[in-house]
Point group: C2
C-alpha cells in the first residue's frame, strides 16, 4: 500500500468534474512519480461529515503515513519536499517557486474564486470585476515574458497557477493570449492528462455504483 | 548591515497604518529574534513603480542577501525556515503549521478581503456575506477548542491567522468571543507590539518629512 492517500468526495455532479481539487494533488504525484491511493468521504453530508479531517468541510486532504494535512496548497508544498521535479533545491529556485505558489492562492485565486461565487449567484458585473481584470492583466503581462513562473522550468507553482487559471470563468474573462497559451502548455503535460482522466473515471465509476444501487 | 530587508511604502494615509502587511514580516522577525532593515518604495506611483520587485504592485517584499521574495505568506514561510520559534521542526508540527498558514491565506482571507472590498465600495450586505459567516463560524468553533492552531503553541500560522482576523471589519462581523480572545492573545505578544509600534512610528516619521518639505 502506498504511503500517500489523497482524500476526495465519493461523487460530485457533472459540473465540477475535472476541477475538484484532489486533481492538484493527483497531478503533483504524477509529476513527481509518487505512488498514491485515493479514498473518499461521502458527498451527502459533506459540509459536516469530515470536519475533524478538514475543518471547513472541503476536499482534498492528504495523508502521508501518520501525517494528515489539509488545504490543497499546503498539500502541494508538502509533496514538493519529496521531489525536485516539483520544487528546485537551490535557494533561489525554491524562493521563486514558493512565492509564485502563494501568489496563485492569495493574489489570483483570492479574486477569481469570489468573483466566480458572485457570478454564479447571478451577479456577473459585480464589484470585484475591475480588480479581477487588474490581477489577470498582471498575469498576462508576466506570462507574455516567460514560459514558466519560477526557475525557468515547470514547478509546483505552475501546477497551481495553471489550475487556478484554467477554470472556464477565468478563461472566458477577456482576451489574454499568453495566459491561454500557458494554460494549454501546462494542461498538455502527461501528468495533468493522467490526473484529469483519473478524476473523471473516479466519478464515472461512482455514477455506475449509484445506478446499480438504484436498480436493486 | 542586517541580511534581511523588508520593503514597504514610504508613506500611507492614516487608515491602513498598523495594518500594512510589512507588519507580518516585522512581527515574524521580532518573534524569531532576526535582525532586519526596513526600506521603502514611494507611495506615489505605487501601482506601477515597483512591478519588477512585486508583479502586482503590492508591498511587502523581502530581501534575504541575494534572494528576493514577494507575497507576505511566502515571506513568512521563508522566515519560518530560519527559526523553530516560527515553525516546529518535527514533521507533525511542521505540517500543522503549514496547513494553517495556507488556511489563513486561502480559506479565510480569500473571503474576508473580497468581502471588505465590496463593503468599502458601499455594499455591506453583499453576495459573500453568508460565505464569510460560515468561514468565520468554523474558525470560532476551532478557536473555542484550542489556544493556538498548530503544535499546541504559537507559530507563524497564528501570526498570519491573527493578522487576518484582527482587522476591524472582521472583528465587528458578529459576536465571536473565542476569536476575539485569540486575536487579543496574539496581539498582546511583545513581538507584535514592537512590530506594530515600529510601523506606526515609520509612517509618523514620514508625516514629519512631508511637513518639512512642505515648509521649505
Amino acid at each position: 500500500m502506498s504511503e500517500l492517500t489523497i482524500w476526495t468526495l465519493d461523487w460530485v455532479p457533472q459540473g465540477p468534474r475535472g476541477f475538484v481539487r484532489d486533481l492538484r494533488l493527483r497531478w503533483a504525484c504524477e509529476e513527481a512519480g509518487l505512488d498514491y491511493t485515493v479514498r473518499t468521504i461521502p458527498f451527502d453530508g459533506r459540509e459536516t461529515n469530515h470536519l475533524e479531517q478538514q475543518p471547513f468541510g472541503q476536499v482534498p486532504f492528504l495523508k502521508d503515513k501518520d501525517l494528515e494535512i489539509f488545504e490543497s496548497g499546503a498539500g502541494l508544498l508538502h509533496l514538493a519536499r519529496k521531489s525536485d521535479k516539483l520544487m528546485p533545491r537551490d535557494p533561489e529556485g525554491e524562493a521563486e517557486t514558493l512565492q509564485w505558489t502563494i501568489a496563485a492562492l492569495n493574489s489570483i485565486e483570492m479574486v477569481t474564486v469570489p468573483w466566480w461565487f458572485l457570478k454564479i449567484c447571478g451577479d456577473e458585473n459585480n464589484g470585484l470585476t475591475e480588480w479581477m481584470g487588474q490581477r489577470l492583466g498582471h498575469m498576462e503581462r508576466i506570462l507574455s515574458e516567460q514560459e514558466w513562473l519560477a526557475a525557468k522550468r515547470f514547478t509546483v507553482a505552475d501546477l497551481l497557477m495553471a489550475d487556478v487559471l484554467r477554470v472556464s470563468h477565468v478563461r472566458s474573462f477577456g482576451d489574454r493570449p499568453a495566459t491561454e497559451a500557458y494554460v494549454t502548455r501546462a494542461t498538455s503535460r502527461a501528468a495533468f492528462k493522467k490526473a484529469h482522466a483519473d478524476q473523471i473515471a473516479h466519478f464515472e465509476a461512482a455514477d455506475r455504483e449509484r445506478a446499480k444501487e438504484g436498480s436493486n
